[in-house]
């Protein structure tokens, strides 16, 4: 694969992981049109992506899911475990929520469909560098539609109505990727109060983890 490249310290270092050369070439062209992005390497499978991420500590990994050796979800889990500061953008053909939730649980913060890469990848990379989440409009639409239909089907009351205004604010900030401390600073609350709000939100919405909370926020259309 292409050797690791040195780049200016201000630039965002990106690792591409996709088993298709044409795809990688296209992505490289796309990213390098931007001044602040540098492609520091290309991996052709999940195993290689993990190795190269460990060796090069990229800021962002653009990860395909369907790859030989090790799939993108597993590779994401391993990379994030080793270096939580590495932000992962999943770039996949799959639009189903089983892929989205598994990617989020593995530690990815953005989920893009391949057909929207050209339009959204740059925004996604910038968003996750700032600690936010990002989802393709197509994915957002699908998740939201499914959620609305499920609500209608089950005739269940919308648990969002149970949240207080303050809790809704906290929910949005957490879903956008803010840490408890950042939320506390933004809303002028104590860290303890923010933690309490978070616990209440998860209880009221019957959720068990931050990735589930993010998925919920996307489904509800709270974040984009």
């Amino acid at each position: 694969m292409a050797p690791l490249q040195t780049s200016p310290s201000t630039s965002i270092r990106v690792l591409l992981a996709d088993d298709h050369t044409v795809m990688r070439n296209g992505l490289r062209l796309l990213l390098e049109r931007q001044g602040d992005l540098t492609v520091m390497g290309e991996a052709a499978d999940g195993r290689q992506a993990v190795d190269m991420a460990a060796a090069g500590n990229p800021d962002v990994v653009v990860m395909d899911i369907a790859m030989p050796q090790l799939n993108g979800v597993e590779a994401t889990r391993q990379i994030v475990n080793r270096n939580p500061n590495t932000a992962i953008v999943i770039l996949s053909m799959h639009s189903d929520e089983s892929y989205v939730i598994r990617s989020l649980k593995a530690g990815a913060r953005a989920y893009l469909l391949k057909d929207s890469a050209e339009a959204d990848l740059i925004s996604a990379i910038h968003a996750i560098i700032e600690g936010k989440s990002f989802f393709s409009p197509g994915v957002r639409r699908l998740l939201k539609e499914d959620y609305m239909r499920e609500l209608a089907d089950m005739g269940a009351e919308d648990t969002y109505e149970l949240l207080t205004t303050r809790e809704r604010e906290v929910l949005q900030l957490v879903a956008e990727g803010k840490s408890n401390k950042e939320v506390a600073n933004l809303l002028n609350l104590s860290l303890y109060t923010v933690e309490t709000h978070r616990t209440h939100i998860l209880q009221k919405l019957n959720l068990h983890s931050v990735p589930e909370l993010i998925l919920y926020a996307v489904r509800k259309g709270i974040i984009s």
């Binding site: 298709h20 062209l29 053909m93 799959h94 391949k114 089907d153």
Partner: protein
């Protein structure tokens, strides 16, 4: 065709059947004949024996009466002679006349029941009796004065002698009678012996015919059994081959779907995605002012986008990638969502305990069974709610699909879908059960053993 023909010709032998009927019919007739003959013979023997005994009894009785008459007449005659007055003499005389009459009747009776061998002694007896009567007549004709002296003398001289002769004759006749009786018994025994021999021969004949028939029937039955077993084995083998073939077809189809799905996704889909991106890259390099080129590039992007969507849907329909990427439950959940979206039917998937890592064959089997079942629920049952439950149970994995649709008669209806599901399940050694009745919804339960 050729199989059933060869087997058919082996089994069907029309000659054999009529032979069997004739054999059994003949045997039955023979048994009836033997029974009838025996009954008839016994009846005959019984009748002739009874007749003979009857004659003997009559003769014996009459001879007894004759003997008694002879004795009594002598006694009555003595009383007559010793009678003190004419009155009592007259009474004794009357008595004697009665006895004489009775004895004569007994003699006649005896004559009617006489055996040829007894003719001579009986004729002598008759003669003696006549003489005896004359002697007694002579006594009664004596003048009353002489009657005491002469009568008593005569009585003790002549009458007693004659009486002894007669009684001897009666005894002889009796003796002959006994001999005749013994001879009759011997004849009867001989008749019985002959009858027994004849019966035994007939029974032996019947048994022989029966035995032949039994051997014939047994051989025929064995041959039929053999042919039947051949045919059964043939059918079982054909069935096994068919099942094998269908299992191979199913797995070949599954493999094909997987390959096409992967090919579409990995090659066509990715290439289209890359094309989309390259179009974007090209668009970025289009110089300002070349609007026509930009429009063309935009059109290329739209086409590629639409194609990517088509490819995505196709790959999922062929074989959902979650099945291979994440396992059974996510794939089932995806399917439930898709079916709900498409049909409006509420599908709920529950997997209380996450099933252990399932072999690919099991995953595929359960996935396809659920797919087919959901198809039935929406297409035929008009169900509103469907509940899919997957859970591990010991060395097995259990699946149930329940709907609240209109149901059907599970004993009669066996649609092609059900047969296909059953084939898949049986191929993995599992059990397949459908509970349904019109108006009660349908419950489908399968159990798949997990190979250790």
């Amino acid at each position: 065709m050729s199989l059933s023909q060869t087997l058919g010709s082996k089994v069907r032998t029309p000659g054999g059947r009529s032979l069997l009927i004739a054999g059994f019919g003949g045997l039955l007739l023979l048994m009836l004949a033997v029974g009838g003959y025996a009954l008839q013979m016994f009846e005959q023997v019984r009748q002739s024996d009874a007749q003979e005994r009857n004659v003997y009894l009559r003769r014996a009785r009459s001879l007894e009466s004759v003997r008694a008459g002879i004795y009594q007449s002598a006694i009555v005659m003595r009383d007559y002679l010793l009678a003190p007055d004419p009155d009592s003499a007259g009474k004794h005389f009357d008595e004697w006349t009665d006895i004489r009459g009775a004895t004569d009747r007994a003699m006649l009776e005896c004559a009617s029941a006489l055996d040829p061998a007894e003719t001579v002694p009986f004729r002598n007896l008759q003669a003696e009796v006549q003489v005896y009567w004359k002697l007694l007549d002579f006594i009664t004709e004596l003048p009353p004065r002489n009657k005491h002296i002469h009568g008593a003398e005569f009585l003790s001289k002549e009458v007693v002698r004659h009486r002894t002769t007669m009684l001897n004759l009666v005894d002889r006749i009796n003796e002959i009678d006994s001999r005749q009786m013994a001879a009759g018994d011997a004849k009867l025994n001989a008749t019985f012996a002959m009858l027994r021999l004849r019966l035994m021969m007939m029974v032996a004949g019947t048994v022989a015919v029966g035995l032949l028939l039994a051997i014939f029937t047994m051989r025929r039955t064995l041959r039929l059994e053999h042919a039947l077993e051949l045919r059964y084995r043939e059918v079982a083998r054909a069935r096994g081959e068919l099942q094998d073939l269908s299992a191979r077809l199913v797995s070949a189809q599954e493999e094909e779907r997987r390959n096409i799905s992967r090919e579409l996704h990995d090659e066509v889909g990715q290439s289209l995605s890359a094309l989309l991106m390259e179009a974007g890259n090209a668009a970025a390099r289009v110089p300002l002012g070349s609007d026509e080129v930009r429009r063309h590039v935009e059109s290329i992007k739209k086409l590629a986008e639409a194609s990517v969507n088509v490819i995505r849907n196709m790959t999922l329909l062929l074989r959902p990638s979650m099945l291979d990427d994440f396992g059974l439950v996510p794939a089932l959940e995806w399917q439930a969502r898709e079916v709900s979206k498409r049909t409006g039917m509420r599908v709920h998937v529950t997997a209380p305990e996450t099933p252990p890592e399932l072999p690919d064959e099991h995953r595929t089997c359960i996935y396809r069974v659920v797919q087919e079942a959901l198809h039935n629920c929406s297409r035929h049952a008009q169900a509103r709610n469907v509940r899919v439950v997957v859970r591990p149970g010991g060395e097995k994995i259990l699946l149930s699909v329940e709907d609240d649709g209109q149901g059907f008669d599970a004993r009669r209806v066996r649609g092609l879908g059900l047969v296909g599901m059953q084939e898949r399940v049986h191929h993995l050694g599992g059990t397949f059960e459908v509970q349904s009745a019109p108006g009660t919804g349908t419950r489908l339960a399968i159990e798949l053993p997990l190979a250790s």
